[in-house]
């Protein structure tokens, strides 16, 4: 089930982002489905799966984005590792933890992306923070929390209880 979920994510996350999400954007800002997926995978399944899925999904995202030098591959891979490490540090991963992690990681990823990929004037990068980076981070965090809640309660495709909980129960 988990393997198929990952295959489906690779096949459909970026196509959904490029086609469907373009029609439902809020003031030209859309949540980043790849980022949401990587954060949730990192928190639920650990840093290795988060990193591998981040690299793979980021790579696909870069193929269909105008950016050069694969900035999404780098940021999403690092994001998967970071999400996995956060998952280890908290006693229990809850939707609130996912929301907070999503907000921080999306903001950090956006700042790294601005540094890596834009190559534009500093004031333009600063302007992108309130108009693009923060709104997207909020949307990403809300969507990540919602997806986490669905995946842990309704459809436990990544193994049900969060990793930290499983680890504790083994002790």
């Amino acid at each position: 089930m988990k393997a198929w979920t990952y295959v489906a994510l690779v096949l459909f996350a970026v196509p959904l982002q490029t086609t469907v999400l373009g029609s439902v954007s809020l003031r030209n800002v859309e949540p980043d489905l790849v980022l949401v997926a990587v954060v949730v995978i990192g928190l639920l399944a650990g840093e290795l799966e988060g990193a591998l899925m981040g690299v793979l999904l980021g790579f696909v995202q870069d193929l269909f984005s105008a950016g050069v030098a694969f900035p999404n591959l780098i940021t999403k891979g690092a994001l998967g590792i970071a999400a996995g490490l956060i998952g280890h540090q908290v006693v229990q991963v809850t939707p609130l933890v996912v929301w907070g992690s999503g907000l921080v990681l999306s903001t950090g990823s956006g700042l790294a992306f601005l540094y890596l990929a834009r190559g534009r004037a500093l004031w333009e990068a600063i302007l992108a923070v309130p108009t693009l980076l923060l709104p997207q981070a909020i949307l990403d965090a809300i969507l990540a929390a919602a997806v986490f809640w669905i995946m842990t309660t309704v459809v436990p495709v990544l193994g049900g209880a969060p990793m930290s909980v499983r680890r504790l129960s083994r002790r």
Partner: protein
Amino acid sequence: MAIARLTYGSRRFVLGLVALLLLLLLLLPAQTQGLLLQFGGPLGQVMAWPIQALAGLTGSVRELWDGYVALQDVHEENHRLRRETELLREENNRLREFAVTAERLGALLQFKEQQRFESVGARVIGKDATNWYQAILLDKGESDGVEVEMGVVTPAGVVGRVVKTTLSTAVVLLLTDPNNAVAGLVQRTRDEGIVEGTSQRGVRIKHIPLLSGVREGDWIVTSGLVGGFPRGLPIGTVTKIEKEEGELFQVAEVDAAVNFAKLEEVLVITKLPGGAAPDVFHLSPQKASKVTP
């Protein structure tokens, strides 16, 4: 899953390899980019199928939704109408959509026939996979002769340039993206400048000489000096001129001739005319209106 069966040490080792790969990408972007693009070719080809399928599905759903919203206003009236009338209206709507599409494609074909450059028509199937770039995705790629740096236009004017391709898709960076730059020309005064996008999704022309007599309403066209565009294609009209004291050049805001929010079909310029005379193109910017093709 295989990853779950790995020992702790193996997991650490694989994670270290991933971290090393990310570090290499960060430190040696130019060297690693070619290698990654080699891998990206087949993967991009595979990914093009779900993208095109979803683009078709999204179009159908949008048409249905538009129809639903349009019918809400006449909901009560519809109850009084007979089924035959409803069927006729649906058919009429469908035919009208066909007519609009045919008109749009006809304009594109006419534009293509009038120009001296060689081009290939493409459908817009999506937008950039991130929020960070103003870019669109086309359903034509390397197998159709589309290459990086080729210009993209509609009968209304310049759209942008191709920045990335797979076998069957192409990413086009729009004129409104701050990373894009096209050589432009003030049509009336013949002063040259660089047209680029702004953070507010607008367009501006910079490096216009200080003594230029450029004024609001002037048409900006492509200069044809560099890039994938021939000379004389409309870009937009000047709406505001910024002339700062102590500066050597002027900057002007431009109202783009193309409505980037409603792009459906475009032409990719695959071959420029050799030694074409300036402004030989039949479409006069004065006639171009801010419409989609």
